[in-house]
């Protein structure tokens, strides 16, 4: 099958790529662009480790074909921090609240949280839990992640600035 030429806007940068039409976005991000912060835990849409933002919405990049992202904006974990030596408030809160253990779920969790807070800047605990219930973590027991997201929401609204 012939490769297809697509244009991806990833973390603000434009890439033109020739990809096999069956390849997933996760795969192209990780292998062609070497953005390995996007993790693959199941490749079947069950774990959320591969979560990225596509035009601001959180999606499972293992279930999305790269060609579907043609001319659309992709945000991966590498593109979230405002600068190389700063963290996004969500990332900062994850560090401060001990919400990270092995870290394999973390990039996906952080991006799912970003999507949640973009749409609901002051979520209740129940809303956080419902919003991220598609992202599995086997290490932390989740509570510190819930705390971190709550704290990040507060920080973002207090400072009035979203990085």
């Amino acid at each position: 099958m012939a490769k297809r030429t697509i244009e991806l806007i990833v973390n603000g940068d434009r890439y033109e790529l020739a990809v096999d039409p069956w390849r997933t976005l996760a795969n192209v991000l990780r292998e062609d662009l070497r953005l390995t912060g996007t993790k693959v835990g199941c490749a079947q849409g069950d774990c959320g480790a591969c979560t990225v933002l596509l035009d601001g919405r959180s999606i499972s990049s293992c279930l999305t074909l790269a060609v579907e992202a043609h001319q659309r904006e992709v945000t991966t974990i590498e593109g979230l921090a405002p600068s190389p030596d700063e963290l996004h408030p969500i990332q900062e809160a994850f560090v401060q609240h001990g919400a990270v253990q092995c870290g394999y779920c973390t990039p996906g969790m952080v991006l799912a949280a970003k999507h949640l807070l973009d749409n609901n800047p002051a979520p209740s605990e129940a809303e956080i839990r419902a919003g991220l219930s598609g992202n599995l973590c086997r290490c932390t027991g989740y509570n510190k992640i819930v705390d971190a997201i709550g704290a990040a929401a507060k920080k973002i609204s207090d400072t009035g600035k979203e990085a």
Binding site: G41, Q44, I77, E92, G134, R138, C139, G141, K144
Partner: protein, 798 residues
């Protein structure tokens, strides 16, 4: 941490050997400055930005991709195998069968009974019958399809009890009983004669999958000098090396194993890296090229080790006042197709013996008899999973305690209070608990924090319509620190440099539990510097001393001690040097906060770095090497009597649930978990272990099970194998108690596995307390709860 009580045990009764070891460790009685604080995990910033590299993230350019052809049969003879077509496929570099192997065709964490490639027969669905290495993953997949194998199916064994029958088909040459262990104390018949109530119950638990989020991956990279380099996420680099060398037919020093940060392990990445490394290594050796094998999620479930299923038959006698008089147990411990971490490493290593020792629970019982059988079947194999045989038997004894209490009309807390271990208690192996026994304290603090009495009194219907009932549950637990083998030693090295910076060499691996944060903390504490002054050298068998595996909740305690001993050797150089510089005798010197100072005149001090520079210039020893071996374990092979593990962590969990008696659905409302950890080196990391462990125990209680039909895994994906989500986990309040362990670094005991253990029975007990529905075969999914309530004649009517 909400609650923290410092408690010194006054009446420790250490043995001579323990005393001697404790003396080696003892530090001057000064307050800790670095150990005991919640410093953040060092690599967190790398993880939240996606910069930390896991095995799958390393570029595989120039690599071949390895794949394993798996048996579709649970038990069969291999009649013929034809790889010609696969070999001819363009892009295929090698197709290997058993005949092509250069060395030993077997690997295993304890005994090498698992073929690298099956030659004559297969023993479970997923067994490897051929290996392929190809230029791309797609080609490797295509090649697998071109291999023709002819099997002759054999009858399989899918229930461990069937494995014991005289005429059962033999899975391995030596028969199906891999281990037959006994523990006998006192006289159970006499004990039962004294009892007012005797109950007999059978409890059963299924195979469990670790479901670490990172699928297994391994790279084997041949080096120009002939050395085989293995890289991958793994808990036991040394065990891996010990297996790869004979499989390649080379000496151990020709294999180098480097650990890559793990995306979760929980015991599972003790075994599977051995398997993948051996297979990747033979492919790399055959082709002379680097080979990477990465498992797909379904392969992880089908191929890698699981938590052992067990059928546990208990008969327990108790007096009217709740005093236990006799405990008799039988364990049918299902090993599955291969030995993995099940069998005994004398005297008390291996998961099977551990399960046997733990089976009667943390209670004083004068008469005990346990028969424990470890049995091969044609299922996937049991390995290590957070608790190593202990979670299973806790599910049995903790349910039994509740069933006895109900029969006697006393509360679940009363019966535990009556029998719980205290300092000086004798365990079922006849071991006298000589120190650091905080079990009763955990019960007391847990009940306090949870408000057990009030909550117990308030259980009952939640709604007018009488569909939902609220209830409470409790479970206690104990867990060893160390692994019960004679060779449970652990080495560390500390290299001091002239600018005061330090390199710490340890073979303990990081899987998210925080070892890479806690171990430098201990090193910094001992030297009187800051954790950031210590850089930990990542586990690499060419560089770090043999440290044993990262299992058995042994990292902090055993490695911590090795580090302390190593650090002391360089500290001696520093103190000698400082003594000369300050003209103060060494006994008066202390080190803290990068200063070395005169205790009697703290203003008289020197910078740590200046002393290090002077020590170096004077040719003093700048390298310290520490080796720690815990007290020698003992366990008689016939009677199961002795001291198998030198110290135990203790815990009590309490939980409140609401059960929908019409649907069997359960909601967890509140959770308190109390632990005696000896000493919390990093309270925040500890809290993380607690919350994660409880969540995993919740999964075991309510939803997790690898479903097998005729040996075929029915739910290999994470859609079929359910693990707890954010919606399932309640608020968890940890309570930390510190009853000093004289043989641990700063008094610490292991904690990695303990939180996982009482969680499951606490939840099951709460469901029964709320609804009358007692589920003796896990998981307690809504259907089983529904039927258990029916079987009990319905929920309580009050």
């Amino acid at each position: 941490m909400q609650d923290k009580t410092q408690e010194k045990t006054k009446t420790q009764v250490l043995t001579r050997e323990e005393n001697e070891l404790a003396r080696r460790l003892r530090t001057a009685d000064k307050p800790l400055t670095v150990a005991g604080t919640s410093i953040g995990r060092r690599d967190d910033p790398l993880k939240v930005t996606g910069k930390l590299k896991y095995g799958a993230d390393y570029s595989a350019e120039g690599f071949l991709f390895g794949k394993i052809l798996r048996s579709p049969h649970a038990h069969a003879l291999i009649k013929s195998i034809n790889v010609k077509k696969a070999q001819e496929l363009e892009g295929v570099a090698a197709v290997l069968t058993a005949e092509d192997l250069p060395g030993r065709n077997g690997f295993g964490a304890i005994i090498p009974d698992q073929p690298v490639i099956c030659g004559d027969k297969v023993r479970f669905v997923g067994d490897g019958v051929a290996l392929v290495a190809a230029e791309t993953e797609t080609i490797a997949h295509q090649a697998l399809k071109l291999i023709e194998v002819e099997y002759e199916p054999l009858p399989g064994i899918f229930d461990p009890r069937d494995a014991m029958a005289e005429d059962a088909p033999k899975i391995h040459e030596g028969g199906n009983i891999l281990s037959d262990d006994k523990m006998v104390k006192g006289d159970v018949d006499a004990g039962f004669a004294e009892a007012d109530v005797i109950l007999e119950r059978t409890y059963q638990v299924p195979f469990l999958e670790h479901a670490y989020l990172e699928p297994d991956t391994t790279m084997a990279i041949p080096q120009p000098d002939g050395v085989m380099l293995i890289e991958g996420p793994m808990q036991a680099p040394f065990t891996t090396r010990r297996n790869v060398a004979p499989v390649l037919g080379v000496p151990i020093n020709q294999v180098r194993v480097r650990q890559i940060h793990m995306g979760g392990g929980f015991g599972g990445k003790e075994d599977s890296p051995i398997d993948l490394s051996c297979r990747a290594a033979v492919l790399a050796q055959a082709t002379g090229r680097p080979v990477k094998i990465t498992l797909e999620r379904e392969e992880v479930t089908i191929q890698t080790a699981k938590r052992h299923p067990m059928i546990m038959e208990l008969k327990v006698g108790v007096k009217k006042d709740g005093t236990l008089t006799a405990f008799q147990g039988v364990i049918y411990d299902e090993q599955g197709a291969y030995a993995s971490l099940g069998p005994k490493i004398p005297p008390a290593g291996g998961s099977h013996v551990h399960a046997m020792v733990m089976m009667p629970g943390p209670y004083e019982i004068p008469n005990v008899k346990v028969d424990a059988y470890l049995l091969y079947t044609n299922h996937p194999y049991g390995g290590a999973m957070r608790g190593f045989g202990a979670p299973q038997v806790h599910i049995a004894h903790e349910q039994m305690m509740d069933e006895l209490a109900a029969e006697l009309g006393i509360t679940a807390v009363d019966i535990r209070e009556k029998n719980a271990f205290r300092l000086g208690s004798q365990t079922a192996t006849g071991q006298v608990l000589s120190q650091s026994v905080g079990l009763r304290e955990t019960l007391e603090s847990c009940a306090d924090r949870f408000k057990w009495d009030e909550r117990l009194a308030a259980t009952g219907w939640v709604d007018q319509a009488h569909t939902k009932r609220r209830g409470v549950g409790v479970a206690m637990g104990w867990y060893r620190t160390s692994i019960g083998t004679n060779g449970d030693g652990c080495g560390a090295a500390v290299h001091l440099h002239e600018d005061g910076s330090v390199l710490l060499y340890s073979g303990i691996t990081e899987m998210g539990q925080g070892a890479f944060t806690v171990l430098p903390q201990i090193c910094a504490e001992e030297l009187g510097i800051m954790p950031e002054d210590v850089r930990l050298v990542k586990p690499d068998t060419d560089l770090v001393p043999e440290s044993g595996p990262t299992v058995g909740s042994r990292s902090t305690t055993l490695m911590g001690n090795a580090i302390i001993l190593a650090a002391r050797q360089v500290k001696e150089s520093l103190m000698d040097t400082a003594s000369m510089m300050l003209m103060v005798p060494t006994e008066r010197l202390d080190a803290k906060g990068r200063k070395i100072y005169d205790r009697e005149n703290p203003d008289k001090s020197l910078d740590f770095a200046a002393v290090a520079a002077r020590a170096m210039a004077a040719g003093k020893r700048m390298i310290g090497q520490g080796w720690w071996t815990p007290p020698v374990p003992s366990l008689d092979g016939h009677t199961g009597q002795g001291s198998p593990y030198h110290v135990y962590t203790y815990s009590t969990h309490m939980v409140q649930v609401v059960v929908d008696v019409e649907t069997g659905e359960v909601e967890l409302e509140d959770y308190v978990a109390a632990f005696d950890v000896g000493k919390a080196i990093n309270p925040k990391a500890l809290e993380g272990q607690i919350e994660g462990g409880v969540a995993m125990g919740l999964g075991y209680a309510l939803m997790e099970e690898v479903v097998l039909v005729e040996g075929v895994t029915q739910n290999p994906s994470l859609q079929g194998y359910l693990v707890p989500t954010m919606l399932d986990v309640p608020d968890i309040q940890p309570v930390i108690l510190e009853v000093t362990n004289e043989l641990g670094p700063y008094g610490a005991k292991g904690i990695g596995e303990m939180p996982n253990i009482p969680a499951t029975p606490a939840i099951i007990n709460a469901i029964a307390q709320a609804s009358n529905g007692r589920v003796r075969r896990l998981p307690a999914d809504p259907e089983r709860i529904f039927w258990a309530i029916k079987e009990a004649g319905g929920p309580p009517q009050d």
